[in-house]
Symmetry: C2
Subunit: 344 residues, 2 copies
């Protein structure tokens, strides 16, 4: 079956914008967190949301059905909701089939492939729209070389998973562009790929091609250009360190930004493992990155301070700056300006 | 199509022995190197070879056709030959279809899946034999925890790819068993999986599950038991270091053996990158392994000395022992005895 339906790989494709965001019957806002991330970062590309009865999330953009969205120029329906077990519920099938009938593509980040649903697979065969499986990279079989390449690259790395690596990379890209410095955000996870419209789902790659796919994501560029690459996991997280190391080598960064959440007491998903020391994380990242980029250095620390009040935040950031002699800020609040100052 | 034919994952299966080894029309012995590796290490499990006209490799075991192999008790046909591009040539289809008709399974390590050939896929549907795709692990979705577990584990690591990590692990397992120490070889690559009849093809895993699949490969065991795990790649090889790190964390080794080929001048496949210093490779492996096993240590250095004459070999091994204060030997020549002495 799978050979009959057009599946596009995320490694060599663009997800066409603008988007209709499919929020479905999200039971709460957390289930739609990908949708909120997309609207936060590229609201201009989101012409509407599609919600089913009972949906508990609202992106505060127009509610449109598939016909309306197509009429207003939407190109792709983004599945921006996670549901239990990653399966596609019965109630989604009619609207998604309708989307294809209207000529829209569907970009899917769930584990269940769209074409495993016969009605959707059939509708795709006679649609100009395509099914884009963000978790099923294909055609990515480049083995990394580690050879030096032109252009500048910045990678966000973390003391743990989910500490703000995507947010920081997006904020730094925006700040660079504000200063008319040529820069591109390079997405490595599902939400980032939706926001940018392209990228590599690095944690879904076949192990042998982790670094190679990242080399393809941020190839040789103009010497003045910055690729700002979204990090994944942590070199110190035993579940995912292999992914983080492959990403670090493929990125060949000349600049690193450490991302940290200071109130966390244990590594995500591992109650018995404490968060590593910041200096230790910086040293291990530098040591590993030097293999492909001897001049690599840290240019700042991005701190997710949402659980600190203002005085605690200021004290924490000042102390951190004194300790590490690097700009330390929360890019959610201040946009990464001090880090970009250091970079340029 | 793929859902109709029984595909067994290598992560939770045994490849049934004994084997008929399919050497096909191998143009030279190098193309059949997997076959030779299997015969070297489990000749007693190989009841014959199947060769097509023009085959330039000879495993020196009986030539049998599919019927004869089935009559003599063979259970699985191993595809032990690599051909250009990893495709399955026309000339293989009749004999492989015949194998399934005789009730034999087929274990395939090529990139092309067996069931992509309609005649083979059809024959599999009516056979008691199954199609085993060694490069297509399925059902492996365990996220590693890094939690301490019982039993001893030894991992072979390398200064580069293809320096003898599988050979060393097999030799050490054999030597442990000779001394009545409970031990198992844990395979992580195609040839090792064929030899052992089970294992995890770690370089074909989805990136998120590298470490988790290795945790499943060598789970908690009796405190006196040794799992001897086949390493892959090198922490210092920029194409594959992510795989090596994920494997190192999943293995949670208490003992490491460094594998080295002293005449190599550059990293495999990377003409511009020199081989790293042995001490540096040992230090980086120890540092990374301590995250999951603080007591990890090296117990020896296994040197592939096939390109050294006897006096050069002896001088090299003696110098290495003096430098590192560890047993250094070529397990191909001396079976890893001094390393096992150090281990126990």
């Amino acid at each position: 079956m799978s050979e009959l339906v057009s599946i596009t790989s995320t490694i060599d494709m663009k997800i066409d914008k603008p988007y209709l965001i499919f929020v479905g019957d999200a039971p709460d806002e957390l289930a739609a967190k990908t949708s909120f991330g997309v609207v936060d970062w590229c609201k201009e590309d989101c012409i509407g949301q599609f919600r089913l009865p009972g949906c508990a999330a609202d992106l505060k953009i127009p509610d449109l059905n598939m016909e309306q969205a197509a009429e207003r120029g939407a190109r792709t329906v983004l599945i921006g909701v996670a549901n239990r077990g990653g399966v596609i519920p019965e109630s989604w099938i009619v609207p998604l089939t309708q989307a294809l009938k209207c000529g829209l593509s569907i970009a899917n980040g769930l584990h269940t492939p769209m074409n495993s649903i016969p009605a959707i697979s059939d509708a795709a065969k006679s649609s100009v729209g395509t099914l884009i499986e963000v978790r099923k990279p294909s055609g990515a079989d480049h083995i990394a070389t580690g050879e030096p390449r032109s252009g500048h690259r910045l990678l966000t790395v973390g003391t743990d998973c989910s500490v703000g690596k995507m947010y920081t990379a997006l904020a730094l890209t925006r700040e660079l562009k504000n200063r008319n410095i040529p820069a591109d955000f390079r997405a490595t996870g599902q939400t980032g790929i939706f926001i940018e419209g392209s990228g590599v789902p690095v944690d879904a790659m076949v192990a042998d091609f982790i670094s190679g796919s990242v080399e393809q994501l941020c190839p040789a560029a103009d010497p003045a250009h910055w690729d700002v690459i979204e990090g994944q996991g942590s070199l110190h997280h035993p579940s995912f360190a292999g992914v983080s190391l492959g990403l670090l080598h493929g990125a060949q960064p000349d600049a690193l930004v450490l991302c940290h959440e200071p109130t966390r007491t244990n590594m995500r998903g591992l109650p018995n493992r404490s968060i590593p020391d910041i200096s230790e994380v910086m040293e291990s990242n530098l040591q590993s990155a030097r293999m492909v980029q001897p001049k690599v250095k840290f240019v700042g620390i991005a701190v997710n301070t949402k659980h600190l009040d203002e005085s605690a935040r200021n004290a924490y950031l000042t102390g951190l700056e004194d300790n590490h002699q690097l700009p330390c800020e929360d890019p959610f609040l201040t946009g990464g300006k001090s880090i970009v100052d250091q970079l340029v």
